[in-house]
Subunit: 349 residues, 4 copies
Amino acid sequence: MNTAIEKNRGFASDNYAGAHSEIIEAIQNVNHAHDGAYGNDQNTQSAKELFKHHFGANTEAYFVYNGTAANVLGLQSITNSFDSIICAETAHINVDECGAPERFTGCKLITVHSPNGKITIDTIKPHIYGFGDPHHSQPRVISITQPTELGTLYTEDEIKTLSNYAHENNMYLHLDGARLSNAAASFNKNFKEITFDLGVDVLSFGGTKNGLMFGEAIVFRDKSLTTNFDYIRKQGMQLASKMRFISAQFEALLSNDLWIKNARHANKMARILSEEVSKMEEVKITQNVEANGVFAIIPEHSILDLQDKYSFYVWDEQSLEVRWMCSFDTTEEDVRNFVSLLKKSLKDN
Amino acid sequence: MNTAIEKNRGFASDNYAGAHSEIIEAIQNVNHAHDGAYGNDQNTQSAKELFKHHFGANTEAYFVYNGTAANVLGLQSITNSFDSIICAETAHINVDECGAPERFTGCKLITVHSPNGKITIDTIKPHIYGFGDPHHSQPRVISITQPTELGTLYTEDEIKTLSNYAHENNMYLHLDGARLSNAAASFNKNFKEITFDLGVDVLSFGGTKNGLMFGEAIVFRDKSLTTNFDYIRKQGMQLASKMRFISAQFEALLSNDLWIKNARHANKMARILSEEVSKMEEVKITQNVEANGVFAIIPEHSILDLQDKYSFYVWDEQSLEVRWMCSFDTTEEDVRNFVSLLKKSLKDN
Amino acid sequence: MNTAIEKNRGFASDNYAGAHSEIIEAIQNVNHAHDGAYGNDQNTQSAKELFKHHFGANTEAYFVYNGTAANVLGLQSITNSFDSIICAETAHINVDECGAPERFTGCKLITVHSPNGKITIDTIKPHIYGFGDPHHSQPRVISITQPTELGTLYTEDEIKTLSNYAHENNMYLHLDGARLSNAAASFNKNFKEITFDLGVDVLSFGGTKNGLMFGEAIVFRDKSLTTNFDYIRKQGMQLASKMRFISAQFEALLSNDLWIKNARHANKMARILSEEVSKMEEVKITQNVEANGVFAIIPEHSILDLQDKYSFYVWDEQSLEVRWMCSFDTTEEDVRNFVSLLKKSLKDN
Amino acid sequence: MNTAIEKNRGFASDNYAGAHSEIIEAIQNVNHAHDGAYGNDQNTQSAKELFKHHFGANTEAYFVYNGTAANVLGLQSITNSFDSIICAETAHINVDECGAPERFTGCKLITVHSPNGKITIDTIKPHIYGFGDPHHSQPRVISITQPTELGTLYTEDEIKTLSNYAHENNMYLHLDGARLSNAAASFNKNFKEITFDLGVDVLSFGGTKNGLMFGEAIVFRDKSLTTNFDYIRKQGMQLASKMRFISAQFEALLSNDLWIKNARHANKMARILSEEVSKMEEVKITQNVEANGVFAIIPEHSILDLQDKYSFYVWDEQSLEVRWMCSFDTTEEDVRNFVSLLKKSLKDN
């Protein structure tokens, strides 16, 4: 992409955005004198408490640098190398992490077809067998993404069904919540209600895509799952020395309503965008717009016209399906300008 | 340690400090609109160029989150799993990374006794054998730290001797430069002169301990060593999505003289501290003070008296050797107050 | 299964058989005095030469203990940890090796649906993309099994097509030949013609399932692929100290026609078995019988009746598809008795 | 070495020997019809029972192919990747396994100087610290070799002291018993008395060096340590399909007195050898001869003279210390001829 475009607000990814001003402010506020390294500081304690407030008193949160690490180290903490992890073929852990989950957990990833980004009991069941057979990777984790990589949402019942099934089979339910705030905002529920109350065992909580500069959290259902996590994180190269600068960001995100304001806004921008483009008959919305992403098929020439001004990804080269992600800093004007441009492009051809 | 103390400036570690104000400013300055993720942004390109300026036109720099990752991924890029890495028994890669180097490279670490933090041909030579013998981990890397974990410096000749020996044996010389700026400041030389000109092949360049909020670099002697590094970094869970926030810090550090100002200052504080305490006969300085750390043996009661007001580590529980690290933000007043307190404690007992 | 049954010759697996008498004899013949350990012996040299004779003058063979190791170490020698390996969902490396390929190579396994055990360009093509994208495991190996786990054979053209495709994409073609002798016997061709002449890069050559006591070989197309293999095998825990006892078995297998006699016989037994049972209308042969395995669907009560006397596996619990493997020591009488028993069982119900 | 020599009985290693005739016989005896694969056979059950008989009713034995695997998989079963294993610098796991322990367990190996092959509380204590510190590999295993790689024996008290220390620190005691039979023969005690009764937690039991063709066992103090071992062994590429051929060898070794006859004989040959050569003043025996190995320093020309007829290793190139291993099949005549040759060589020069 050309650099000039990238410096505008486009629709490529919510991690193309910068950091929210309150986040920057929070960072400045903890930039005092000296403080204990590696999480031995007040901000980290306080941020961890905030996670308990949002996710439940028995939960435990740990901070890492990025989403790949949050997924990999969370999975490592609940698996042995001879286990398997089942997920959607579109899952970030399968498609976008360069094999980090396999390499660092040693586990087999089993993937199932998931046209809308979601897995179901029916799709995964044929793969969950071989318990006790040493020739067979032991099924140990069902991993879902909420919202999915396709901008859709699992219903609460769908998650409950999967967690019940997991637990009946002595497995865990892992949730990649890189955009979990967008899910909570969409459901208008708190984090506990949409995760641990539904039987999730461990989750990645995304900060970067909701306005943080960097920083993600791994949240465990219960302290009992964290026995070795301090070592796993350190050996996993994810223990931040000046951790207060991550923790302060989470404090800012979670102590007031910043997390939900940002997420609601991004969701709303996606909704407006989808409503506007769905009025054009040349545009086919391909996925339910339930969070902050819009997936659509548009004519090829319009892709080129739009990419001339705004960056975004072609999701599927075959079908020319594109992905438009909205971010905490996407403005309604951004959306309207983008829509106008698309309209013009469609008309011109 | 008690929290109140930690919020003062102590002598525990240069990573107890916050970020330099110019670093914070640089971060704010890149917090504009959208930009390419994962290093596809102007600041990253520009920061990489700055590294070429400082280290040599043929070198290549990559950014990661922290020092453990810089060491591990740098080492991984020049080893096979069946190789060995030789280092001082005091090396950070041996003592402070929870086995990350072994786990992620697969390599054997061979350690040698190093009372002053330095290894020599004599100490390592007995361990460098077995080339071509499949029963034996293949010696592949000599890893040194500059300045060492004990605040001492390898002379340029010492490094050259080690690099020659390494290359004669078809091995690499790796340098852990978590505090490399302090070495350059002490030598009053540029980075190229004290690393690649002396035969270093790959190095970790520390930012965090010299005033960055977070962020380290891996610098390779030559592009030829980087063939797979993009994959190694991504699979190594160290590819930052909003990378501009690391890159901007390095721009600020390296584009003006911030790096050397910070390092010189920290070195100077250590020198003053060591000069002052060496006047007291109850204090024994145990290592040459050549960078920003002071190692000394003091009476036990004084350790307790000092730790009541300032945080620092007892380096060796047996000999009661303590470590006092100075930082870019240590003030001369901090040092003088600390010295006074020590004087008082020694007199009172 | 009950022990009494297992001590008969059943149809469970060709690794339920013992060792061929010529193999035992060969072992006795090398049980003389002392000999160099770890392959530094005459028998190993001679066995390696025999492999060159059968597979081509430029090929290189290495011996390991078992088939899992042959696959894993062969794959490791041609991959980096950030690569991916594509194979049939029924592949032994995917289903029967407890995740060893992932754990030891670090690679991602990508599996495709393969009702007849075979993969095609059409099925794998959608998964082969992302070259140069560090977020994506790099497609590096296409792995096929010949004969397949379903007793079918790739035609020579099919293999050639796959190898061409692999090489065009800078990938390797790996072949799991746990039963490669059965393929050669079926084609009535030599090993070179059905492997390296078709573009295979590295293969596992099975001994155990064709009458050896233990021992498999990894055969590389060319010496250039073996640079690190001595270390990979040793670190992979597969370097046999008294290697002459493996090598002598391969000498016996390959220096006269034992390999083809055994394989032809097993194939013939499968053919007879399949011809006989296909006359019964209650029996549905589900796969082409092209090597030494017969896959069929029979009534449930007949499964139980037969398993009362002969061991064999139900391949698919849903469809009641069973697998009957013939071995070098399966007799025509075994087959006829088995067929009679099935006939009787079908009539009785 | 030249091939002609190797086919004599030399003193290079007890794994240069072939297999004992009773072992070959045992193999032939189980070469009947079909039997369950992967250990589902009567011989494996029976061999496992024999291990219980020798090592204790609560112990559990598992069979693998070789000694490297026995050590690595035994260690893996009691460690996490962030643990450390302390051993003698001369330990096989440190020197002769090409880094397999590090690669497959992920653990750090900490080595201590051990001039007689033995470690002591004093030598290891300085390395056993950092419990609970996530920066530090967690000390988890003390690994000893009995007899040591230098032919010496830990006394029972020495082992007990180490196991007590291990258990007080929540660590395990691992024993590499590649030549454990030689230790038992030397002590004239049973296996239980010299291992689990002294607090050993898991051990490698060597077969190959005491007359087996191939095959080693991992013996666990208690079933509780074996929870995942079936998966660890399979994923570790060490599950033998025709396992009865390993098991039958162990049955032969352990069901009559073959193990002790072989070991006593080898020990006796070493004793005679050492007694004879110690009469020569030019020869300096460097280690106590307590098992089946003799370590000595002899003039360089005599090394060459002897190696002209007998293979053996120079253990230390600097001091010209040589190692002479005796085996179950070393004859008294071999020893006397060897001694004569040495005498002659010494006189001639």
